[in-house]
């Protein structure tokens, strides 16, 4: 009961904050807050496989792409569909789902791909798994590039309706965080941790490794698909180039800096590291400082992210939070029970 009230309290605060942002900020800031939310979904969901289960996947951008394209294909208005994608199969060309449904379908499609890919790939260990999942991401891009009838290939799909707003985003943030939280604290979560801590012991103790690995992978992919769908309807144009290694890298940076195995760490880190590029943007575009025109410094943000990551790995390898969670009690300095 106490916990339920706590959750309710948290959600009400979040509701008020979003209400405030929605009313008081201009569209530029609202978009930043949307992106922060989308990144929170991406990072926390990557945490399930990479942090809690110890399967270091580099394929998250691939699942995001699957989600983005799936949702766009499902909810584009019919007239735009006819114009942009005249060669769609009949049934797909003549449906236009409501946003909520297309986002959910995006999640399921990504999860479906995760099961498909996970079945062979998750048998691999350590580095091999990482490279194979990265390979999956490359394959997704290649397929998108080569199926113009479905995806318009390298040109990408534009004119996607701008359905996403901060209400939608934080609705999904709450669902994601709550779902992940429940999963981690269930018997499934304990099985995931057992896999991370000790492969052999976990398999001896009767944990069906493959089943749980795929489950963990698919749950992460589901929310990556959701995030991809939200992102597509925020930016309103998607191309295969948008779902690159850099995208995966940025999510990984947020994850590692937040602490693999800490949901609250992921949230804090997604928040801070999404703001960073926005703060750096004037510098990247060559700002005027005290009357001097500074040169353009494209790449500076990524450079700083990379440096930050190297420093964290060397000096604080567990990230901000390690595998602990933020709690009000912890902040107030009380002993947690």
């Amino acid at each position: 009961m106490k916990r339920f009230l706590g959750v309710l309290f948290g959600i009400s605060i979040l509701f008020l904050v979003i209400f405030f942002i929605d009313k008081r900020f201009n569209s530029y800031y609202r978009e930043i807050f949307s992106i922060i939310g989308i990144n929170i979904i991406l990072v926390t969901s990557l945490n399930i496989s990479n942090g809690f289960t110890g399967l270091f996947s580099l394929g998250h951008a691939g699942f995001m792409a699957v989600g983005a394209y799936t949702s766009a294909l499902l909810d584009l208005p019919l007239d735009k569909k006819a114009m942009l994608l005249p060669n769609l199969p009949y049934w797909l060309g003549h449906i236009s789902l409501p946003f909520l449904l297309s986002v959910i379908m995006a999640g399921f499609m990504a999860a479906f791909f995760a099961v498909l890919v996970g079945y062979p790939v998750l048998r691999l260990k350590g580095h091999y798994l990482s490279v194979a999942t990265l390979g999956f991401m490359v394959i997704v891009r290649v397929v998108i590039n080569n199926t113009p009838n479905l995806t318009r290939g390298a040109i990408g799909i534009n004119n996607i309706p701008n359905y996403t707003n901060i209400w939608w985003v934080y609705f999904w943030v709450v669902i994601t965080v709550y779902a992940l939280w429940r999963i981690i604290n269930s018997s499934y979560g304990r099985a995931f941790l057992a896999i991370r801590e000790d492969h052999i012991a976990a398999s001896l103790s009767g944990v069906n490794l493959t089943k749980y690995k795929i489950l963990s992978f698919a749950i992460g992919a589901f929310f990556a698909g959701v995030a991809g769908a939200l992102w597509a309807h925020q930016i309103t144009a998607i191309t295969p180039r948008a779902f690159s290694f850099v995208t995966t890298f940025n999510i990984v940076v947020m994850l590692v800096i937040g602490g693999m195995g800490s949901i609250s760490g992921s949230i804090v880190s997604a928040f801070l590291l999404t703001l960073l590029p926005e703060l750096m943007r004037p510098l990247e575009e060559g700002m005027v400082l005290f009357g001097y025109q500074l040169p353009q410094l494209y790449g500076l943000t990524q450079l700083i992210m990379a440096t930050l990551l190297i420093l964290v790995m060397i000096f604080r390898p567990k990230g901000l939070m390690g595998d602990r969670e933020l709690s009000l009690k912890g902040i107030l300095g009380q002993k947690s029970s």
Partner: protein, 299 residues
């Protein structure tokens, strides 16, 4: 069906591409053999080598011999710096920490290149005597292609002799088998690791020159995919093994060229996807590769 000259032409293309993969794969494979690290930054050394070559050619009009040697040295130097600054502090860290760091190093190098050199692709022109073509009926190749293949063979032979015959070469192989026992022999393991990075990066540097000469175009992200493919090559050959890396490089070169050259043209766009599909298949069927022994340490 395919005409003989067409097949021969594909054969030639495959050998050239395979040579480049082989050189890049050697460094990845040797480093993996010792540190169990997939060095994602390895492909970026290739990019650095290519840009170094470009500047020597265009700004200094340097003779081509120098344009080959200096990128090697620059590549080697960068490899050593990366090892010293980013990887050595993590010697006792878990595997995943090394992996993450190498991703970060790769991002660092690529974005530094974007900042300093601009993200814009540049043309890479080789001296005219190297771009001269030879025609034998429908088959053609250029002088640079011959150079690429010969240089690869020479480098591989020299390296093989070094690793087989010299005391330091033996120490490198010993370190790959067990770091602790190597210490007990009096081997300065850190120096051996540094040397391994130096040699691998040296080869990546020259491979970058070859890559640029072959395709005539360079950009800051050019190393990413060849780097990953070289990893696929070293897995095919058996990671950690020098002959494996070379064989894997050529096998991948052939597989890729044949995929494009002999299958329906609609499929050729799937080239990069095919390479990774191959990786996944090899990992599942024979994870130790063609030349590799089953891994002693738990992966």
């Amino acid at each position: 069906m395919f005409s003989l000259p067409y097949v021969l032409q594909q054969f030639i293309n495959a050998i050239i591409l395979g040579s480049i993969y082989a050189l890049v794969a050697i460094g990845l494979s040797m480093v993996y053999g010792i540190l169990r690290l997939i060095n994602f930054a390895h492909g970026d050394i290739l990019m650095i080598g290519a840009y170094t070559g470009l500047f020597l050619l265009t700004l200094y009009k340097a003779p081509f011999a120098i344009v080959l040697i200096v990128p090697m040295l620059v590549g080697g130097l960068i490899g050593v710096i990366v090892e010293r600054v980013a990887y050595r502090p993590l010697r006792k860290a878990p595997e995943v920490a090394l992996l993450i760091t190498s991703l970060a190093v790769s991002m660092f190098i690529e974005n530094l290149a974007i900042m300093v050199l601009s993200p814009r692709p540049r043309r890479f022109r080789i001296p005219s005597f190297l771009s001269k073509s030879h025609f034998y009926g429908a088959i053609n190749f250029r002088n640079i292609d011959i150079l690429i293949v010969i240089l690869t063979v020479v480098l591989v032979v020299v390296l093989t002799l070094f690793v087989k015959k010299t005391k330091i070469g033996i120490a490198m192989r010993a370190t790959a088998e067990s770091i602790n026992t190597s210490y007990l022999m009096g081997i300065n393991v850190n120096n051996i690791i540094m040397l391994t990075f130096a040699i691998g990066s040296l080869l990546a540097g020259v491979a970058g020159m070859m890559f640029a000469s072959k395709y005539g175009r360079i950009e800051p992200f050019m190393g990413f995919l060849p780097g990953l493919k070289a990893f696929v090559a070293s897995v095919i050959g058996g990671i950690g093994s020098l002959p494996g890396a070379v064989m894997g490089g050529y096998l991948l070169g052939f597989a890729e060229i044949f995929f494009v050259g002999f299958l329906p043209p609609q499929l050729s766009g799937y080239r990069d996807g095919f390479v990774f599909l191959l990786l996944i298949i090899v990992l599942l069927i024979r994870p130790s590769g063609i030349f590799g022994q089953a891994e002693k340490r738990e992966v």
